[in-house]
């Protein structure tokens, strides 16, 4: 395969292309955090952090860290003018109540129907930890996943049915990956775009799934 994969930064840039003026967005811990770097500065996009911040800004300058002002990943951040603080029950009401436009999350697996598995490997000796993953998955108007398409062993992480424990059912709308962008529809997977050098048929074979 001669496809040129999107690296993490390119993938973050691709996700950011679909975030528009006036949207309220929650970026999950890990790779989704990078998306913030590619949202055009002239856009007024409100970033939500589930620990109780709306209007989150960039990382502070060295020495200016305030450990009362951190994001969900527990890293110091800043607040934009007009930003607000609130308690946890209000913060999760913003999610569960459908007030957020978009939530971007990482994933272990996503099914063609939009089922999401991203909180637990299910291994017997693993200590489970869920945080806000289940609330985020079902809360926003649209949940997007951002991940590499294949596992290190080359298996597709977009699957017919998830084998890892579920985070939410039929909650994912879009899947942004290093090779393609997919949409989960009632009819199945719809191809939005793919990287240069990749063909529809080859992608379908990699996925082991039909594309519509």
């Amino acid at each position: 395969m001669s496809a040129i994969k999107r690296d993490k930064q390119a993938l973050a840039r691709r996700v950011a292309q679909d975030i528009h003026e006036g949207m309220t967005v929650n970026l999950g811990i890990g790779m989704p955090t990078l998306v913030a770097n590619y949202i055009a500065p002239e856009l007024e996009v409100l970033l939500h952090s589930e620990n109780g911040i709306l209007g989150m800004g960039a990382a502070p300058a060295p020495g200016q860290e305030d450990y009362d002002l951190i994001n969900a990943g527990k890293q110091p951040v800043t607040l934009k003018a007009g930003g607000a603080f609130f308690h946890h029950a209000d913060s999760f009401s913003m999610m569960r109540g459908g007030h957020l436009d978009i939530c971007v999350l990482g994933a272990f697996q996503v099914s063609v129907h939009g089922d999401l598995a991203n909180w637990h490997t299910g291994e017997a000796d693993a200590i489970p930890a869920v945080g806000g993953a289940m609330d985020l998955a079902i809360g926003a108007k649209q949940t997007w996943v951002m991940m590499d398409l294949l596992t290190k062993k080359g298996q597709s992480k977009v699957v017919k049915a998830c084998t890892y424990p579920l985070t939410g059912i039929a909650c994912v709308k879009r899947i942004y990956t290093d090779l393609c962008t997919l949409e989960c529809t009632p009819k199945g997977l719809k191809l939005i775009d793919m990287v240069e050098g990749l063909e529809r048929k080859a992608l379908s074979e990699l996925l082991g799934l039909e594309l519509h």
Binding site: G52, D66, H87, M95, V130
Partner: protein
Amino acid sequence: MINKIADSIAQALSGTKDGSTVLVGGFGTAGIPSELIEGLIETGARDLTVVNNNAGNGEHGMAALLKAGRVRKIICSFPRQADSYIFDGLYQSGKVELELVPQGNLAERIRAAGAGIGGFFTPTGYGTDLAKLPNGEPKETRLINGKHYVFELPIHADLALIKAEKGDRWGNLVYRKAARNFGPVMAMAAKKTVASVHEVVALGELDPESIVTPGIFVHQVVRIERVATVAGGIKS
């Protein structure tokens, strides 16, 4: 005269009983009532059920409470962290029970207790392993207007330990930035709420339009020192 200002942490926490359920505020570096957790260890109370977002890290605070063998059960959303080794060891050897709750359900179950709600239906967790009771039985579910919900019960507590920024002798509180996190909902849900503050102010000094936790939810206020950073936050 109503005076909720305690002279010391020991005084504020006196009477803490074995077997208590204790809500502990804080998320990450923000809003952890470390001094009150140390005070709880000093009380000697055992067999505790502790409710917190995490299960402690490093050797201090919650981790020290766990290490001292005072905790029977922990209810939290995210126990696993890079340095949560004290919890990890206790959990893996079966010495502490874990009830894992999605973070928003945790906040809402605490809020429900404070608000006098007998339970609620939430979409979070539907169809997942966390929609099961500790005995493995599925939790009650209901289809409402075409959407699936899981029934969740409130979390009531005997004691809440929270960290605020300023308080007055009636127990009115304001918080600082993201350190607010669980404080306001936890304050409502316990029979006794103890808040640490960096500043005790006179009645009327807190703008009534901006008071976040009205004093009715707070029973004891204790002043603690702040080691401030350049940006004004507490040193982590």
